[in-house]
Amino acid sequence: MRFEQIRFRAMGSPCALHLYAANAETVRSLASACRAEIARLESKYTRYRDDSLTSRLNRSAGDPRGVRVDDETAGLLDYAQTAHCESGGLFDLTSGVLRRAWDFRSGRLPSRAAVDALLERVGWQRVRWQRPRLVLPISGMEVDFGGLVKEYAADRVAELCRRRGARHGLVDLGGDLAVVGPHPDGRPWQVGIRDPQDGRRALAVVSVFRGGVATSGDYERCMLIDGVRYGHLLDPRTGWPVRGPRSVSVLAPHCLIAGTTSTIAMLSGDSGADAWLASVGLPHARVDRDGALRTHWPVSPASECPPARVAPRASVPSIR
């Protein structure tokens, strides 16, 4: 069993593949397949390239014919629709344009009129999504897959590793994690919940055997005006920053679900986050604005896993 960590940059973040494989060659071929898949998704859904699907979709805004999308994009749009519905409108693929009103480097609040003007072009309920055709009826509307693609990519890459025979490993795309499988001896991966104040420090370490972990944070870009902190997470219904926790990390069977859950928690504000996380019932950790850490995570002592073969055989011991 050979263990290797492959670090690289993708999707605007530092990424790492922690992989166990039989030999160096297998690890390398696995890593290059993973990076190819990440690059594919990045170039397809980024909004920073003119030839990406996202740009094509955004250019079609105002065109009643819309764009016919492939199965993968259709799946993501269906998922985004579900998330929009379940979150009461907080999770919204079209909310990206609101960032134009908020210039965090200027240190100035935008005018209400500017925000209201942008709100005219925001709202998934305005979008006509009838599989396989997406129509953005209002010119200037935009879809932004940024809130989905990194987590989706983590899940896809982890599944890709599994389909190629890897059974132990971890995919880390800028803090969005998907587990291929626990360590060969059955130990879980130890994941640190980052301190928003000091990125190098971990407030807590949690054990992850399988599934995905995603973190939504509001600590990167913000403005401090008259003692009030304005974060960069904007409520798509009002156009203004939400006042909620500093970060929420969620563990789910898939990184995609973990990401959506944590994003919706952040957008729900302080009390909304509690209610949302309680209703979803997934393990999570949140860092409040005052720096306090609250975890709802079944943290256990470093427990061992039996060798997998013991599981089915052990239920039928031999009586020789």
């Binding site: 059955g186 789910a252 896993c305 039996p306 055989r313 011991p317 009586i319």
Partner: protein, 73 residues
């Protein structure tokens, strides 16, 4: 068959109606996957013990599984 056996059989059948009473999610299985939570954490020891008791007592160990006879009983 004695009443004890009938009672056990009944318990066994009742156990099959248990599905749905507990739903431990996949991410809550750290304790269940501990080595000492396995039915037989140490296969070698279980085999040896079962074989020794089998050669000194009349009973079958139960638990199913293959493996046939030997000259010891």
């Amino acid at each position: 068959m004695s009443r004890l056996a009938a009672l056990l059989l009944l318990l066994g059948l009742a156990a099959t109606s248990l599905p749905g009473c507990a739903s431990v999610r996949p991410w809550e299985r750290e304790i269940l996957s501990r080595r000492d939570m396995a039915w037989e954490p140490d296969a070698l020891e279980a085999q040896r013990r079962n074989h020794i008791y089998f050669s000194k007592e009349a009973a079958l160990a139960g638990g199913g599984g293959g493996g046939g006879g030997c000259g010891c009983n």
